[in-house]
Amino acid sequence: MENYRIFDSELEKLTHKVITMCSQVNEQLVDVVLALKTSDLTLARKVISNDEFINNLDVKIDKLCQKIFALQQPVASDLRYIISALKINNDLERIGDHAVNIAKRIEPLQDYKQLIEEFGIDTLGEKTTVLFADVVELVKTHDLAFAEKVMTKAGEIKDECEGIASRILSEMMHQSEVVVVAANILIITNLLDRITSYSTNIAESITFVVDGEIVKHRKHN
């Protein structure tokens, strides 16, 4: 005997909003990486102004979760689903913020396309984007095996970030004339690193929804 649950329609609304948030953030990420690669200031400005939409959606998702907690008192997988939605929403919003932070550094770097390429930041950006597209897929499919793959891939990207960061640092030490530019590039590398961490968080939240296991503090490598 299957019951009709008001809860299910609330859940559908929530899922829909989270997926929308995912695609918005995905677009921001794709745009900012392209803007960085091509020094497209118009596109960078678009990324900055689009953030407001994401912030609004973030608040809406928070409110919906609050409402579900208060009125439906979810338990078991329902409970885990709402908790994850809250966390994923938070992570998405942060990724959005970091896309904006990158966008703001494109103008000072517009004459240094070559340096960006030399350090491999454009490729790093693309990898981060591809990873995030996988995360969006994961949010839709809840596929545990895929979650594992995403986490592994994220670990590799983070290692790469670290490698690039230390190369930038040594460049800064040896060539003082690039310090200001290199510092900007270093910050972008860190932002991409953070975005990758948030992607990992989202994959962890999905694992939590599916099997209740908290993998947050497990070592990925």
């Binding site: 005997m1 299957e2 019951n3 649950r5 809860f7 008192q73 979810p74 338990v75 078991a76 997988s77 329902d78 409970l79 885990r80 209740g212």
Partner: protein, 252 residues
């Protein structure tokens, strides 16, 4: 250390030829609140009643297996059922005070048990009413009829009546299901206090109530014990799909 107060082994119960309990084995810890949940007709009340042999009173009931309380099988031939029911008290869904004074309702059990001394009875009555968290509300009108109390007060009076004979285990069958939210909250608070001194087993159809007040939760379905675990586990990540479907309201 956690001591098992009640331990049932391979319990079966039949109403005539109809099986109502199917192979129930469960260990209920001492001085904890254990909640039984499950859809109507799954056997919660039947199982609860079998823990102090209240089912003996029903025609055509056949019971197999063991119910061990403090290392003694309560279905052994030489068991004195009156002593058993003193040790294992029961509170029902519908409060059922006698049409007598508040005092007499609580003193009734101890009197039957042979206590005649007035001051001793006074002491027992006061203690029981205090333990049932109703003393302050009735202390100035102990001679008034119990029927003049509100539903929530009547239920706490019935709990006091149960406590007056000094039980070790208190069985409660949906004790708050007929009460308003405030009275329900009082009963819930009381139950949590009582576990300091008593082993509580409660049947409730209110899942949030089970979640709020119990340490362990047992989920019954069609006469079977489907899952039994710490309440926290049952309500965050149960092992069985049937439990999950029931507590999330997908069936039942």
């Amino acid at each position: 250390m956690i001591v098992d107060k009640i331990n049932t082994e391979d319990m079966f119960l039949y109403y005539s030829s109809k099986m109502a309990l199917n192979n129930i084995s469960i260990k209920i810890p001492e001085k904890k609140v254990t909640a039984f949940i499950g859809p109507s007709g799954c056997g919660k009340s039947t199982f609860l009643r079998s823990l102090n042999r209240m089912n003996d009173l029903i025609d055509g009931v056949k019971i197999e297996g063991k119910v061990i309380i403090d290392n003694i099988n309560i279905y052994d031939k030489n068991i004195d059922v009156v002593t058993l029911r003193k040790k294992v008290g029961m509170v029902f869904q519908k409060s059922n005070p006698f049409a007598k004074s508040i005092y007499e309702n609580v003193a009734y059990g101890p009197k039957i048990n042979g206590i005649k001394d007035k001051s001793q009875l006074d002491e027992i009555v006061e203690m029981a009413l205090k333990n049932a968290a109703i003393w302050d509300e009735v202390k100035d009108r102990l001679g008034d009829s119990a029927l003049g109390l509100s539903g929530g007060q009547q239920q706490r009076l019935c709990i006091a009546r149960t406590l007056a004979v000094n039980p070790e285990i208190v069985l409660m069958d949906e004790p708050a299901s007929a009460l308003d939210p405030l009275s329900t909250a009082k009963i819930e608070e009381l139950i949590v206090q009582l576990k300091e001194n008593y082993t509580i087993v409660i049947v409730t159809h209110n899942m949030q109530q089970a979640a709020r007040i119990s340490d362990n939760t047992a989920f019954f379905y069609l006469g079977e014990l489907i899952e039994y675990d710490r309440t926290k586990k049952i309500f965050t990540n149960p092992d069985k799909k049937q439990t999950e479907d029931y507590i999330t309201g997908r069936f039942g």
